[in-house]
């Protein structure tokens, strides 16, 4: 699904962002803390009230869709989503089917299959009965991803999905997301992980200051300006890919 942002804004947190995310691509959003990444993601999912500008999903203005229709197209995984309810792992993932269910189309065998697949995708098949309160942060994060997958969206919006995950599950998740046939937009902190995206948008003070292929965007110059680090590109001798090593910025004397 194509996602188009036209002059998107929300108060002073996000200002005049326009970009086009192509069908099927994995789009990474990077930027320092407080640069407006999370807000932009919510704007793209139509979750912010009184937003300026417009979002189009496959050329349909988001404002013309009901919340339910939006949720059938876009799944969102926010940071810090928690619950006090004694939900089981399966309960939480089943919530993902909500936009597809109604009193006349209740939860059926097809939905069970979709939920099973989503659980398998995040490697949680054996833990379906575990109560939410007993899960670690990483496990909870994987359940949120599974819930989003169970929503069977055409676009997945993830806010720092690798948070809380150990390195194995970080890589597994990024691999999973990259392999999905859907459009993925995600905010990332780890710039080396961002290198795995098809394209990147760089946020700074509410504006998207750069957008393009990782190699075009992640230049030592941009990184120095936006992130205030000294980045040293290195080449992996095994596959020739570029890695960064980060050092503190030398203060100008």
């Amino acid at each position: 699904m194509k996602i188009e942002a036209r002059d998107l804004g929300w108060r002073n947190i996000v200002r005049g962002v326009s970009c086009e995310i192509r069908p099927g691509e994995t789009f990474g959003l990077i930027g320092p803390n407080g640069s407006g990444k999370s807000t932009l993601l919510k704007l793209l999912a139509g979750l912010m009230p009184r937003a300026a500008g417009e979002v189009r999903l496959d050329d349909v203005p988001l404002g013309q869709l009901t919340r339910r229709q939006v949720a059938q197209r876009i799944a969102m995984v926010e940071q810090f989503a928690d619950t006090g309810e004694a939900l089981s792992v399966r309960d939480a993932v089943e919530l993902g089917r909500t936009p597809w269910l109604s009193p006349l189309s209740p939860f059926g065998p097809e939905d069970t299959r979709i939920v099973d697949e989503a659980l398998a995708a995040v490697d949680m098949t054996g833990m379906t009965k575990r109560p939410w309160s007993t899960l670690s942060g990483g496990e909870r994060q994987r359940i949120h991803i599974a819930r989003a997958l169970a929503q069977q969206p055409r676009a997945l919006i993830l806010d720092e999905p690798t948070n809380h995950l150990d390195i194995h599950h970080q890589l597994a998740l990024l691999g999973l997301v990259a392999a999905l046939p859907v459009t993925v937009v995600m905010a990332l902190h780890d710039l080396n992980q961002a290198m795995m995206c098809d394209r990147l948008g760089v946020m700074s003070e509410g504006r998207m200051v750069a957008c393009g292929a990782p190699s075009d965007v992640l230049t030592p110059d941009t990184l120095g300006r936006i992130f205030r680090v000294r980045a040293m590109p290195m080449t992996d001798p095994e596959d020739g890919s570029t890695l960064f090593r980060f050092l503190p910025m030398e203060e100008p004397r």
Binding site: R67, A86, L95, P103
Partner: protein, 346 residues
């Protein structure tokens, strides 16, 4: 799958449970009708029902038959409706504001009802033509509107709603205390407290025709929103992301809950404990998913309040204990047992 097939698939597996619930409820109503201040023979139940419902010819003692048909049956039915309505309100508010301490009176409805009833009784509003019930309903509605406006002005989130509810409740409770301190004597204060603590003794058929439709409609509204209520588990943001029209759902559910609670408070006073604890107890028994929680809470609330009403009539012979006292006295230890049992199982 056709619609019809979908409906069959939806209803078939739950039919036995619905049946079981209906049987339990019927047994509770029967107990509520038989047990009371004075002893009535079980045979009388069949006779009265035969006469009233099928027009059969039976010789009945008019007072016994009247007590059964005109006092106890409506009283038991209203107790059931009241228990179900309060439990449902608790379920809905606990889900919407994501606070385990939320109860049906959270939004100032009970405090408003008290202030309204006391105004009628002590300020002579309506000159005796308006009953406490009408005053209570007016007060409950006024308090809720005030709380809703305040919450909206404060930003409109669940936390603001809870805080506005507390402020509103305090204000109306203070108003009640002020009116009582200003103008009531001991006998009146007793009368009002008795009424405010909850009292089913004045219930007649007209109250049934108020309570049952309102609670029935509220139940259907809640039942139609079981998925949205589930979706609120991770907060209103997550609910929106799952396709829930958050504002509309909140508005519909809170309106339903307020209408139910205000109606019930105006009919029988503010019976505590049911709306707070029944949802938690039922959650421990059937889990947090609202598809089960909503009907199970309604059933448990109904049966619990019928039982509490029976207890209030027989606990002290010849005297009726306020039902709100019974719900807490009987309910608190029961809830403690469920808590402990649940810990062992976990």
């Amino acid at each position: 799958m056709t619609r019809r097939a979908a409906l069959v698939a939806l209803t078939l597996p739950v039919l036995p449970r619905v049946g079981l619930g209906a049987v339990l409820l019927a047994l509770a109503v029967l107990a509520g009708v038989i047990v009371g201040e004075t002893a009535l023979p079980l045979r009388l139940v069949g006779d009265v029902l035969a006469v009233k419902l099928w027009g059969a010819e039976r010789a009945l003692d008019p007072i016994d038959a009247g007590i059964l048909w005109s006092y106890r049956l409506p009283r038991t039915l209203v107790a059931a409706a009241c228990g179900a309505g309060l439990a449902l309100s608790g379920v809905v508010l606990q889900a919407l504001v994501r606070n385990a301490l939320a109860d049906p009176y959270l939004l100032g409805v009970s405090a408003g009802a008290g202030a309204g009833a006391v105004s009628v009784a002590l300020l002579g509003i309506g000159g005796g033509a308006i009953g406490l019930s009408a005053g209570a309903f007016g007060g409950a509605t006024a308090a809720f509107v005030l709380v809703a406006l305040l919450a909206r002005a404060a930003g409109g989130g669940p936390a603001q709603l809870v805080l506005a509810g507390i402020a509103g409740s305090q204000l109306f409770n203070a108003l009640t205390s002020f009116l009582i301190a200003k103008s009531a004597n001991a006998e009146q204060a007793r009368g009002l407290m008795f009424w405010l603590l909850g009292n089913l003794s004045g219930v007649r058929w007209p109250d049934v025709t108020m309570a049952l439709p309102v609670v029935g409609a509220g139940f259907l509204v809640c039942l139609a929103h079981v998925r949205p209520l589930d979706a609120f588990s991770f907060g209103s943001g997550a609910a929106a992301a799952l396709g829930i029209a958050v504002r509309r759902v909140q508005l519909v559910l809170i309106a339903a809950v307020t209408l139910m609670t205000a109606t019930l408070v105006s009919l029988v006073g503010s019976i505590g404990f049911v709306g707070l604890v029944i949802p938690h107890a039922v959650r421990l028994l059937v889990g947090p998913r609202h598809a089960r929680l909503v009907p199970a809470s309604a059933l448990a609330g109904a049966i619990f309040l019928i039982a509490a009403d029976i207890a209030s009539r027989v606990l002290i012979p010849g005297q009726v204990v306020p039902i709100g006292v019974v719900t807490a006295l009987v309910g608190a230890p029961g809830f403690a047992l469920i808590l402990i049992r649940n810990r062992r199982r976990a």
